[in-house]
């Protein structure tokens, strides 16, 4: 589905991301983990071509056989929201406070399809139903601030899946939510990707969350993918010191017997790359 080769993102000659090879197969859920600043978000934003202009991007990102890097803005705009959709970290800041929920969910449908007004309305209700929002008929007329964080994130997910994207990028979609709500959102994302055979890149700094949802996990550290493999392999027999530290730092993963202090430690990135 998406294949990244020799991706280099830099800012005034300072390398921020260097990924030699990373593939997400159709229908696969790839978890991308790493600490803040490890380049996770930069990597996914480069897929959408939405990095700040001052950043230099080199290499190749091919999506369904088409090269995304260097693609004209007009072509990219057609792919965004239709073929590749994104869910953000903080739903309370990702919805326009001046627009009603129903209008925002229908946004990509208005842009990428030629559905009529009533068709869109109908589809919006279906979408809101499919992300398990209660009484969608009432909710379409609400403004974002009238919803809870979990409801807002479900709205964001409904917006993202509206056009049936082939790839969904979820950038820390549960980080800003209560722990009790996180589980529900995770289950929803998992179910949606299974039902529609949609590929997913799930970005998080929380290995426990990623483990639950991913087919494979890629660990990023200082802009590089230092280890990649199925969750069981990453959690049970991590190769890189940094991965061991990540596991140790996560209280929700049992059997974390390797205790390494994360802070102030510089990890050897040669292992298992």
């Amino acid at each position: 589905m998406i294949e990244i080769n020799n991706l280099r993102i830099s800012i005034s000659d300072k390398a921020l991301v260097a990924i030699d090879h990373l593939v997400v197969a159709p229908g696969e859920r790839l978890g991308l983990v790493g600490e803040s600043g490890s380049g996770k978000t930069l990597t996914v934003m480069s897929i959408l071509g939405l990095l700040p202009e001052m950043m230099k991007v080199e290499g190749s990102i091919s999506f369904a056989g088409r090269e995304l890097l260097g693609m004209p803005e007009k072509e990219l705009a057609k792919i965004r929201g239709r073929d590749i959709a994104m869910v953000f970290q903080d739903p309370s800041r990702s919805l326009n406070p001046t627009m009603k929920i129903g209008h925002q969910v229908g946004e990509t449908l208005r842009l990428h399809t030629n559905m009529g007004r009533m068709e869109i309305r109908q589809r919006v209700l279906e979408l809101m139903h499919s992300v398990r929002l209660q009484s969608p008929e009432k909710m379409v007329n609400r403004y974002p601030h009238e919803l809870s964080g979990g409801q807002q994130q479900r709205v964001m997910i409904a917006m993202a899946i509206a056009c049936g994207p082939k790839l969904l990028i979820a950038d820390e979609p549960t980080t800003a939510l209560d722990v009790t709500v996180q589980q529900g959102v995770l289950e929803l994302l998992l179910q949606l990707s299974q039902d529609s055979d949609m590929s997913m890149v799930f970005v998080s700094h929380d290995l426990g969350v990623v483990q639950a949802i991913s087919d494979r996990i890629a660990v990023m550290y200082r802009g590089e993918v230092i280890e990649i493999g199925p969750p069981a392999q990453i959690i049970d027999s991590p190769a890189a010191d940094y991965t061991k530290a990540l596991i140790a730092a996560n209280p929700s993963i049992p059997n974390a017997d390797v205790l390494v202090r994360l802070a102030g430690t510089r990890f050897n990135t040669d292992q298992g790359a």
């Binding site: 939405l50 309370s92 800041r93 946004e107 842009l111 601030h145």
Partner: protein
């Protein structure tokens, strides 16, 4: 008293409280502003259909009459009813101000939004160009235009807009840039929306309160500038009545007929005060920090 019913009542009042802005946001400024501007607008609209006297009928014998039961506010130097003159004069003043404000707000807001979206360098360039526009007094521009194009409403409207456009652009560009930095803008970009759509459909609604308040303030300024220019003879030409021109005509007669200045002057004051109070009141009412959370 049984339980469920009380619960319903409590919820109902909470709903009502939530759906309506708190009464404290209806400030005295807003009420007085609405009353004053409403009165001026009503009187001016009325003059389109009915005036106490025909505004163009001359009655030189009865010129400069003091207020009487026939002419409530007296007559002007050609014997025309002063109240009628002021009512009809409002048409010209409001018309010029509405057109100039509309041009200023539409062009200025667009310019400000585009400059905010175009990045820091263009934003800085716009600010410098705006400074030039703001530095040139509109009275001076109007005087130049009056010589070039000839005096009249066109010169006045161009002169006022020439000042309004850069002022509005500068007011808009900062807040627009703040909104552009928010997450939902990035979200809109991931949906495949272009820059122009995002600026006008995503950013504009979020700075709408600012633009509305700005409109009210500019309208007041427009009235004042129109009156000044008509007073100087650059604006409305006879026989078109205008508050500024009435003041100009009454000025040499101040000692003989002091009431002559009173009515047109009062109308200018009431209108300008009204729109300024309205602007202040709206600023409080529409303050996003009070009425909504999550907006800049």
């Amino acid at each position: 008293m049984n339980g469920p019913e009380t619960d319903t009542i409590v919820i109902a009042t909470q709903e009502a409280r939530r759906s309506r802005p708190r009464s404290s946001t209806y400030s005295p400024q807003l009420l007085v502003g609405v009353a004053l501007t409403g009165a001026v607008a009503a009187i001016t609209l009325l003059s389109l259909f009915w005036t106490p006297w025909n505004p163009l009928t001359l009655d030189v014998e009865n010129r400069l009459q003091p207020p009487s039961s026939e002419h409530w506010f007296g007559t002007d130097r050609l014997g025309r009813d002063l109240l009628t003159q002021v009512m009809v004069g409002g048409q010209n003043s409001l018309y010029v101000s509405i057109v100039a404000t509309a041009i200023g707000i539409v062009l200025g807001t667009s310019l400000g939004l585009v400059a905010a979206g175009a990045g820091a360098r263009w934003g800085a360039a716009l600010t410098r160009i705006s400074d030039i526009g703001i530095a040139l007094p509109s009275i001076l521009i109007a005087l130049v235009l009056a010589t070039a194009v000839g005096p009249g409403n066109l010169s006045v409207i161009i002169a006022i807009s020439f000042w309004f456009v850069p002022v509005t652009a500068r007011v808009v560009v900062g807040p627009a840039r703040q909104v552009l930095a928010l997450d939902f803008i990035e979200a809109a970009m991931t949906h495949g929306r272009g820059r122009i759509y995002i600026l006008f459909r995503q950013v504009l609604p979020n700075i709408a309160p600012l633009v509305i308040v700005q409109t009210s303030m500019m309208f007041a300024a427009g009235i004042l500038i129109e009156a000044s220019l008509s007073f100087l003879g650059v604006g409305a030409q006879p026989p078109t009545a205008s508050w500024g021109r009435l003041l100009n005509e009454s000025q040499p007669l101040l000692q003989i007929a002091p009431y002559y200045t009173l009515l047109p002057g009062m109308f200018v004051v009431i209108t300008v005060l009204g729109f300024n109070l309205l602007g202040d009141g709206l600023a409080v009412l529409l303050d996003p920090q009070q009425s909504r959370k999550g907006v800049v």
